[in-house]
């Protein structure tokens, strides 16, 4: 059984953002200046069961999610509200989770993934939510993306 690794999660997230959403992310301390959570923030989590149980999550700004949706839905008719943006960030986390487990689990066990869950929170609530969890802040084209392990 392998342990969670926040650095691997950072690497995988950057790769998935580049490959699927065509977005460029900078790991902590590189590229842009200090990054802070947005007001409001969206907390998205996904949990898995199988060889072990666990979960990962992100806190993103709605702006990041809208940008991802704009890239992914290119040419598709826009739907009302933030439905597309919320779905886009959930699908991204789903893909990150699958790729992350593949990277950290050497013997390729089977996992079942729950549907990602999104909640809209204030910056303070989001900060409290991730407090004490292994975490890393990325800057993604000027938007904050806080990754964390646990749910």
């Amino acid at each position: 059984m392998s342990a969670d690794n926040i650095n691997t999660l950072v690497e995988v997230t950057i790769e998935v953002l580049e490959r699927y959403a065509f977005m460029l992310g900078d790991p902590p301390g590189k590229g842009s200046g200090p990054v802070v959570l947005s007001e409001p923030s969206w907390i998205v989590t996904i949990s898995f069961t199988g060889a072990r149980a666990g979960g990962i999550g992100v806190v993103v700004s709605p702006g990041l999610a809208r940008q991802a949706a704009a890239n992914l839905y290119e040419g598709a008719p826009a739907e009302g509200g933030d439905e597309q943006a919320q779905d886009a960030v959930k699908e991204l986390l789903n893909i990150v989770c699958g790729n992350y487990l593949h990277r950290v689990e050497s013997n390729e066990p089977i996992f079942s993934f729950a549907t990602p869950v999104l909640q809209v929170a204030t910056r303070e609530t989001a900060a409290r939510y991730v407090s004490g969890k292994p975490q890393a802040m990325l800057a993604v084209e000027g938007h904050p993306l806080l990754l964390f392990v646990g749910h």
Partner: protein
């Protein structure tokens, strides 16, 4: 097949771009490291274009972006597409091939320049509804990219080996 000795070489330097419909010309981009060599070929008009881009995003240097747009993938590639359209090429006819985006310039790969060049290129293709026909991307080798205008043949040379894309 055009005999090689009669072909005229047009070098596409760093930040450069070239378009040709002369069957006796070959477009060539030398020593692509983390840079991206992009080719478009229109088999209907027998016209080809090549760009040699160095960095993903133009926002880091506005002056350079004005002066040498093809230095940057985000503005250079659309400029090449636009130039092909001005020649009369149609989007659906363009065959897209791309090479480079290696890690050779930055061994620790701190800045992921190659990967980012490739990601921004793919975004432009997706936005324009275009597929990449072939690519030779990543790794740690330098590459030279060559396109024959008469045939549209695109060849990548690397470490003494040639590979047709």
């Amino acid at each position: 097949m055009v005999s090689k000795h009669r072909l005229k070489t047009v070098v596409v330097g760093l930040g450069g771009m070239a378009i040709s419909d002369s069957p006796d010309e070959v477009l060539i981009a030398h020593s692509l490291g983390s840079c991206l060599g992009v080719t478009f070929y229109d088999p209907v008009l027998r016209a080809g274009g090549m760009a040699h881009c160095m960095l993903p995003l133009s926002q880091i240097d506005k002056d350079k972006a004005q002066e040498t747009p093809c230095m940057f993938v985000d503005i250079g590639v659309p400029k090449l597409i636009e130039a092909m359209f001005k020649r009369g090429c149609r989007k659906k006819d363009l065959i897209v091939r791309v090479a480079g985006a290696a890690r050779v310039m930055d061994s620790a790969n701190l800045f992921r320049i190659g990967e980012r060049n490739h990601a921004v290129f793919r975004k432009i293709m997706w936005k324009n509804g275009m597929f990449i026909r072939a690519e030779d991307i990543g790794g740690d080798r330098a590459r030279t990219l060559r396109m024959e205008i008469a045939t549209g043949r695109v060849v990548v040379q690397s470490q003494g080996q040639e590979r047709e894309l």
